[in-house]
């Protein structure tokens, strides 16, 4: 096969016709293979393989927020999750009307499937029971300043996983939010 033609032309025997030396057409490819693998190594190290994915976020335009003509959403259709420092989530459901006797149940959960996902699914089934359509659920995501970017991505991701149709990233400006933040010992500003 591709062995080197080491025997050379050899001496021509006397009496034979002098012919043009027949050269082997085989080339030693070892060097080429070396080069090939060198380039492969270079490309493997200098390039990135998987293209990052993106998550689209649409924020309501600032002018829209100021418009107050839309009727406020029923609080019993909502759930609020506040993302706090140290990978903690404070989840609560605001009551429709607040008076002196109102009690608020505040859950402190995490980002695991048992935490946030369970909370969302529980809320979905509650809304389903009360209003007949689980897609009516509106989740307000309120990141506190000390929460991390990963927390927001995880929370948004959880919306996709649980197929929550309506959600928004809002600022924690409610009076309840400040109470919750204060009780959890997290700064709101």
């Amino acid at each position: 096969m591709a062995e080197m033609n080491t025997s050379g032309g050899g001496g021509h025997k006397k009496g034979k016709k002098v012919r043009g030396k027949k050269m082997s057409t085989r080339v030693d490819l070892t060097a080429m293979v070396d080069l090939g693998f060198l380039l492969i190594t270079f490309f493997m190290l200098a390039t990135t393989f998987n293209k990052p994915k993106t998550m689209e976020v649409n924020k309501p335009a600032k002018d829209d927020i100021d418009k107050k003509d839309e009727p406020p959403i029923k609080m019993s259709k909502t759930a609020t999750i506040m993302l706090g420092k140290g990978d903690k989530i404070y989840a609560y459901v605001s009551p429709d009307e607040i008076d002196a006797t109102t009690e608020l149940q505040l859950d402190s959960i995490d980002y695991s499937p048992k935490g946030l996902r369970k909370f969302i699914q529980r809320r979905q089934s509650e809304v389903q029971e009360q209003w007949g359509n689980k897609d009516d659920l509106f989740i307000m995501i309120k990141p506190l300043p000390a929460s991390s970017f990963k927390n927001i991505v995880d929370a948004l991701d959880e919306m996709t996983i649980n197929d929550v149709k309506r959600y928004a990233i809002l600022e924690p400006n409610d009076p309840i939010d400040s109470l919750v933040a204060a009780r959890a010992g997290q700064s709101r500003k």
Binding site: E56, V57, S148
Partner: protein
């Protein structure tokens, strides 16, 4: 007794097939991968189940480091030059051709716009070593540098999409500042860059 002679075989192997494989793999890597962009700062992106691939062209990229510094980059070199022209007239800083050329190849940068000329004067090795302080961002009025960048870039290239690449540990506070700046410039739609992950059961 005659010795049993083991026929001596050639140690040379046929390299043709191996060569074919090597170059096939090489072609594969050249075609499927993308050169790793030069990074001003190391960013570890979070993962998500999002499936939308990042568009190939016309991207305005904001990077947010864990410490909150914000960096800016445009992928398209002609747009970069147009942006630089706008900046040099708006901020009244004349630039030499050498500085422009340096800016054209600058993938990502983050500093006060007024200190750009000085930065562009340095040679590439020195630039790579320098810790960039991050863009000057002030959403409460006064210094509109980031908003200017958004506005000018979008005026120069209308198809730009905004991508935000932030570290896992970046605090929401710096992310929010950038969002405020974007929203002040009527950008309400943007992409967060994440790496792919399978949904947990």
């Amino acid at each position: 007794m005659p010795k049993v002679k083991i026929p001596r075989k050639s140690t040379a192997i046929d390299m043709t097939a191996m060569c074919d494989v090597a170059f096939l793999l090489l072609t594969f890597f050249i075609l499927t991968t993308k050169f790793r962009a030069q990074e001003a700062v190391q960013i570890d992106i979070p993962s998500s189940t999002a499936q939308i691939p990042i568009p190939d062209r016309d991207i305005m990229l904001f990077q947010i480091a864990p410490d909150g510094r914000i960096f800016f980059g445009l992928d398209d070199q002609p747009t970069r030059l147009k942006l630089l022209d706008r900046l040099s007239s708006e901020y009244s800083m004349p630039l030499s051709d050498k500085q422009k050329e340096a800016f054209r190849t600058l993938e990502v940068w983050g500093m006060d716009i007024r200190s750009l000329p000085e930065f562009l004067d340095k040679d590439p090795a020195e630039r790579a070593k320098l810790q960039q302080p991050g863009l000057t961002i002030d959403t409460l009025g006064g210094n509109h540098q980031v908003e200017d960048l958004i506005l000018f870039s979008r005026q120069e290239n209308n198809n730009l999409r905004i991508a935000i690449k932030a570290d896992k540990t970046t605090e929401y506070r710096s992310f929010d500042k950038l969002i405020q700046a974007l929203q002040n410039r009527k950008v309400n739609k943007f992409n967060l860059i994440t790496s792919a992950r399978l949904a947990k059961e």
